[in-house]
Symmetry: C2
Subunit: 628 residues, 2 copies
């Protein structure tokens, strides 16, 4: 999961009389990096005419103290604490502007890869800081450093107010510091070089607040030594609450910084303890293993109907340990029901099973296994349109299956079946259920299902949830548009969400039932959903899932609350929106989704009605459609 | 002003038994066009399997009734009134969808250039209508018609509630119909083919509400005959309130539609009366004449410092009847003051006047006139960097001015003056005051101004106001970006605003004073302004203006409240924002503007803090800058 083999941890120095000595102390205690002031406090300057008045000499120690690879590898630069470019005192603001420009310029000269700045409030206290930082990162080609934006998890005013007896803290409406970060990064246009360094608070925040941070580009947790408690043996440890807090950020591959005075025997103890926790927390589940490297990576949904899948794609999906087990159980149950029926009707012909979209045969195998375990006799047709997969199926028939299985090389929508079947088995579902056109395919195939025959799956539904996903928004934005309508925002993506915040729980959107007895069949759909934001956040789009009733009580799901354990065949889907929507706690989010189609294509359109309207995405499938 | 020579007025038909007869009636009464239902009510259909069930025959009368140029020239199509694609009854919604698609398709076949639809509520009642319309206009290349979106000026519920005694109307919070339109056009992504056809209400709305409509693409006023009153002679006329209301829309070049039953002797009377009013309202002022054709037309600001102006540009600006009069008055006043001073000091040398940026000489002429009228003796230097303009100046010297005037071909920032002057006259202002770099130029030129000398202008300030400007937003959006940062939104435009709504009054932003005695001189600026929205609206950017103290009480201004009458040399400036911001009545708008510079360029950056943050535009001048 992690890019590191041990916890990556830095040590913060408030002041550094000797930079080499400081770096030595840190690395000797196994810290991976240090944070130092870019300039020595002794070098504080006042600017007159753009030149330092009181110090005409150097602004800080020489860059020769360390070799350049050390500067870039080990040092995170800190700005001088007296810089206040948003001061209401013009002289201070002006002087601060000169100072910060000089320090950022010097940091660039040193080749630092990270510079950390502190947010001390919302935009009324940070707008000029944002303007200066954004100027550097957005428009100066030589400025390579990342900006670690320090945000306290808890508004310091909360502590101040809680000590005042004359006021009720709740009434003071202390602003949540997430809003500081949120507005700062918005005025900096979501720039990728801005990352969050969260300062862990003494009081652990609410779970929802923590989850919201998980949706942000948090790359560092700054842990004050004061947060640690001392165990019986005298070592620093964290409370259960703080452990859980820090654990929550493990999936984001965060680094750590220890700050504050050493309150224990050895500064190394903090690192040792963190590293110990970190190693215990490394995930090792099936899905995690499978998903490794795919977190937040946007993929275009498969179009198996238009394109023939490749061998490797089949191979990946056939490895799912759960999916075919579920199918086998569903087929077993259906076979038992059909066998009972035949017994009643004194019909001793074999049960006819058709696998449509047989691929390289996993469902054929599941059906044959089901037949054996239920001691039923079946006759099996394996229908597949991909001529490459047919080769595999024919080999399997020759080597293993024999005459019980008939291989049919045809598109299921065109095949003229020689007889009707009792059970029609398919696996045509996409991450959003119907998005690989299972409804259209099965509508075509059901003509060779007996009137009382069984379709496996029997039904499936898509689910939708509003999501805050800073990173994905940025990824989509960076993708090239293939038309003038920002097509990158007008298409869904398959993605293993990681760096996201679920604004509300998923809700059902579209449902399809098979066989479909409607006349005429209409696979267009329209759905309106109302969600609610429990706290201030940003809507970047919608996550999509499906669940599926294979047969009777055999369910298969990627909807988070009912996800089939250990099944990895589907990542969720993501529908982005072009304009992020600011949500206030309590806001209703009303979404509209359409499933549209004509004789050649199917596509989705989506829009938001509340809290503010958002343009309809993908009208007429102009940017994304699924070919029939 | 108008594209028409008479008021363009249409006649609405609720039903048309005979289309040729209807068209004849209308044109005989001088109406320019008619609105007809696209299909005959008798042809109402129910759709089963995508085909009309009860009417297998034609859906309406044949297209052969009129020739195709008549269809496109005279007919605005109306949808069948029973269409309700947003019905909560699935059958009705589905049937309506089939019907509307059929009617829109038939309208396309007829070649209609306008189709009118009615908004009956906000998105909860119009989202599917929006989706269907947007699909047509955005993504169907053959769909050429404009959509005239009928919006009632007054929510019909207001009338309903006002007749109920048990409820207080104000308490019912009847939604303003502007919100219906606003959300509809947003989900249709501000599409240019959507225009507003406002239905005039019996009660005249508040002035601010009317002004907000002026910021929208209103191209038609629908006037019910019930709004007319009858004068003593029995003719239909409008109340003073309704006249003012309709007059407010004249600058938008609106057309009219008369609807409702004829309540007077002849249906032609309504048209005659409207045409009479309309002709009286055609503007004919100096500024209007000068601005004709430039309304809402975006221009890049001049860069006279980097580029040499062309002869025709000089010619246009020299025609301003007011500007040079104001300059002459200012110079007169300054000459009198200097003459008094010299008298006291018993100095009888001539007053030295330098015109920097003399162009083709209008300021030289103003100074010479001022000298004559004040009976003062002056020595005049005319400094100009454009070698083409120098030719004109030298000709004028030879033919008219003689030795009193010395022509200097030089950039004022580089010229080595042979003596210092008493009065330094310049006209280097742009629409936003300092945006043509007057501060930087005069800082360079002031070295040849005597210590107690006078600069004309003495001071100038830029002004800023939040503006809703649907049309300009669309124009900016349609402009090509020259970099990957939507540079089209990161530059100011000079524009004669017409189709806009001023959200709040202008406020002062930056001020510059000359001569500038600061050491060092710093022409960078930062300004934060707080505005307020009095009603729901959309922020599309900021309009910019300047005022200027030429000398003492001689002011020159394009700030709307103090605009120098009849002066036309400057249109306002417009700073767009990339993401329109939804404003609620009472919302504060906090803007931040920076004037930044280095040795080569000056540029502006801008951002919004409240009600929601907006990314900083134009960091480091990456998309627009002014060359020094």
């Amino acid at each position: 999961m992690s890019a590191f083999k041990t916890a990556s941890c830095g040590l913060d120095f408030a002041a550094v009389p000797d930079i080499q000595e400081g770096l030595h102390v840190a690395t000797a205690s196994k810290y991976h990096f240090v944070t130092f002031p870019i300039t020595h406090p002794n070098f504080k300057r006042e600017f007159i005419k753009g030149k330092a008045k009181n110090r005409p000499g150097p602004i800080t120690r020489s860059d020769m103290i360390l070799c350049s690879s050390d500067w870039s590898q080990y040092i995170v630069g800190k700005l001088s604490p007296y810089i206040d470019v948003d001061s209401t005192v013009p002289f201070i603001a002006k002087n601060s502007r000169e100072t910060i420009n000089q320090e950022l310029s010097f940091a660039t000269h040193l080749g630092l890869i990270a510079i950390t700045i502190k947010l001390k409030g919302n935009l009324e206290k940070t707008m000029n800081l944002a303007q200066i930082v954004y100027n550097k990162i957005a428009a100066e080609p030589h400025f390579q450093a990342f900006i670690w934006v320090q945000v306290p998890m808890e508004n310091p005013m909360k502590q101040v107010y809680s000590h005042r007896e004359d006021k009720n803290v709740d009434e003071m409406e202390v602003e949540n510091t997430w809003n500081w970060w949120n507005s700062f990064r918005i005025v900096c246009n979501y720039h990728k070089k801005l990352i969050v360094a969260l300062v862990v608070s003494n009081d652990v925040p609410d779970k929802e607040e923590v989850l919201r941070w998980i949706g942000e580009p948090v790359k560092c947790l700054i842990i004050p030594t004061s947060v640690f408690i001392t165990n019986k043996k005298g070592y620093p440890v964290l409370s259960k609450g703080h452990q859980d807090l820090i654990k929550a950020f493990v999936p984001l591959d965060v680094q750590y910084i220890i700050t504050g005075s050493n309150r224990h025997q050895n500064i190394a103890y903090y690192y040792h303890y963190l590293d110990h926790l970190w190693k215990n927390w490394q995930p090792d589940g099936t899905i995690e293993r499978f998903a490794r490297g795919f977190e937040d990576y946007l993929q275009n949904p498969l179009q198996p109907l238009m394109d023939n899948l490749e061998s490797s794609t089949y191979e990946i999906f056939e490895k799912d340990p759960i999916k075919y087990e579920l199918y086998q159980r569903a087929i077993q149950s259906a076979l038992v029901d059909r066998a009972d029926l035949k017994k009643k009707e004194k019909d001793d012909t074999p049960i006819v099973v058709m696998v449509v979209g047989a691929g390289r045969g996993p469902l054929v195998r599941a059906a044959l296994n089901a037949s054996i375990s239920t001691r039923t006799t079946i006759k099996l047709y394996a229908v597949e349109k991909n001529p490459n997969a047919i080769i595999t199926l024919q080999a399997l028939k020759k080597e293993m299956w024999g005459d019980q299985v008939t291989i049919v090389s045809s598109d299921m929508r065109e095949w003229k079946a020689p007889e009707k079947c009792d059970i029609l088995v398919s696996e045509l579902l996409g991450s959003f259920g119907d998005n690989e056109l299972s409804p259209e395919c099965l509508d075509g195939a059901q003509k060779f299902l007996k009137d009382d025959g069984i379709s496996i799956p029997q039904a499936y539904s898509s689910y939708l949830a509003p999501v805050q996903a800073n990173k994905l928004y940025n990824e989509v934005r960076a993708a090239k548009s293939t038309n003038e309508h920002e097509s990158n925002f007008e298409m869904p993506y398959v993605v293993q969400f990681q760096n996201k915040y679920d604004i509300d729980e998923p809700q059902i959107l579209f449902t399809f039932v098979h066989p479909n007895k409607d006349d005429p069949i209409d696979n267009s759909r329209y759905g309106k959903n109302t969600f609610k934001a429990s706290q201030d956040c940003i809507l970047h789009g919608f996550s999509g899932y499906f669940d599926c009733q294979l047969y009777k009580d055999v369910m298969m799901s990627i909807e988070p609350r009912t996800h089939s354990p250990k099944m990895f065949s589907w990542f969720p889907i993501f529908f982005p929106i072009k304009t992020p929507v600011h949500l206030k706690a309590g806001d209703e989010i009303v979404s509209h989704f359409w499933r549209c189609g004509n004789t050649k294509n199917v596509w989705y359109e989506w829009s938001v009605e509340k809290p503010i309207p958002v343009a309809i995405h993908n009208p007429n499938g102009r940017s994304s459609k699924i070919g029939l």
